[in-house]
């Protein structure tokens, strides 16, 4: 089985993920920490669909509101437990999205609690070249 690549006509987006100064990939690690296979599968299925959609529109993605969150977006879905899952990031090109951090929030309780602050910090780290990006691979069945 391969990965979705931009050379494939069906694939409209390239996903990038934040890699910390110590080399930890943000979304991969977040996914690895999911306690159930269901949550992993939900994330995988959501992103498999998203990379094939030209137009990213609500409710799959929305702008984050707040003075310091201008330009940030969140990818949105709910897992089987009804809890909202989010990936925060920004568009780095017309067909590229940078994923900085994943979180859940249940009745305004964020996990991790400082997710939105981390979002800002990580973008700053990238601007300062203290952190890097790498492609997030979405696998196909081929």
């Amino acid at each position: 089985m391969g990965i979705y690549e931009k050379s494939d006509d069906r694939v409209k987006w390239k996903l990038l993920e934040y890699v910390s100064p110590s080399g930890r990939p943000a979304i991969e690690n977040w996914r690895d920490d999911f306690v159930t296979a269901t949550r992993k599968a939900d994330l995988d299925v959501f992103l498999r669909n998203m990379v094939k959609k030209s137009d990213w529109v609500p409710p799959d993605i929305t702008s984050l509101k707040g003075k310091h969150l201008k330009g940030f977006r969140e990818l949105r879905w709910r897992s089987d437990d009804g809890v909202p899952y989010r990936i925060g990031g920004y568009f780095s090109a017309d067909d590229e999205f940078v994923m900085l951090i994943g979180w859940t929030h249940n009745k305004k309780k964020y996990d991790p609690p400082a997710a939105l602050d981390t979002l800002i910090t990580r973008r700053r780290n990238l601007a300062n070249k203290e952190a890097t990006l790498r492609e997030y691979k979405v696998f196909t069945g081929h």
């Binding site: 990965i3 409209k12 296979a37 299925v45 030209s54 691979k137």
Partner: protein
């Protein structure tokens, strides 16, 4: 997903593959529902009216993971769009392949009326399939074998073995006109 864990590796885990199927219904299907509505240029209120549901319910149906979609709901949506709903058990290889090839940007399912022309074409193709029925082919071949040999075919049969080899067509197959005519009469 990371570079270490391809989809194949993930699917080798029973818990994951069960979850993957469920996720397609919970996460993938709402996205498909929305793509179908957008392909028709329908608003949520219009779909709600056609399906006999409330607009907020349609909104929830189209949100990945927001609502559990049961067969009854899907049947109502299918009826509203006047399309068929296919639910069947398939091997994982087909399941993944179908999902890989699902193009949400061009996800268009014609309604029955628009689909009629295609149904008619299918009917014509089904008739054509009769031509390939073995019994008819056998009958046509026997008919061709028993029919008188035409002069030009006789010339070939009289030719040297080398010349016949160059033509590389056994007599019965060379007589395709005869076979074709027999097939036509068999299906008419």
């Amino acid at each position: 997903m990371n570079t270490k864990s391809s989809l194949a590796i993930e699917l080798s885990n029973k818990e994951y593959r069960d979850a993957f199927v469920a996720s397609q219904l919970r996460i993938g299907l709402p996205m498909q529902c929305r793509a179908l509505r957008e392909s028709r240029d329908w608003t949520q209120p219009r779909l709600a009216e056609a399906a006999g549901m409330s607009q907020p319910r349609i909104s929830e149906i189209e949100r990945p993971g927001k609502r559990k979609l049961n067969l009854e709901t899907l049947l109502r949506l299918a009826s509203a769009y006047d399309v068929a709903l296919q639910v069947r058990f398939v091997p994982f290889s087909k399941f993944i392949d179908d999902d890989d090839h699902l193009d949400l940007d061009n996800f268009r399912v014609p309604a029955f009326e628009e689909d009629m022309a295609q149904l008619e074409n299918l009917s014509i193709q089904m008739q054509s399939v009769h031509i390939l029925r073995p019994s008819m082919i056998t009958k046509a071949l026997i008919s061709a074998e028993q029919s008188p040999i035409e002069p030009e075919e006789r010339n070939q049969e009289d030719a040297s073995p080398d010349a016949r080899w160059e033509n590389a067509t056994p007599g019965i197959l060379n007589r395709k006109g005869v076979v074709y005519g027999a097939l036509r009469s068999a299906i008419s």
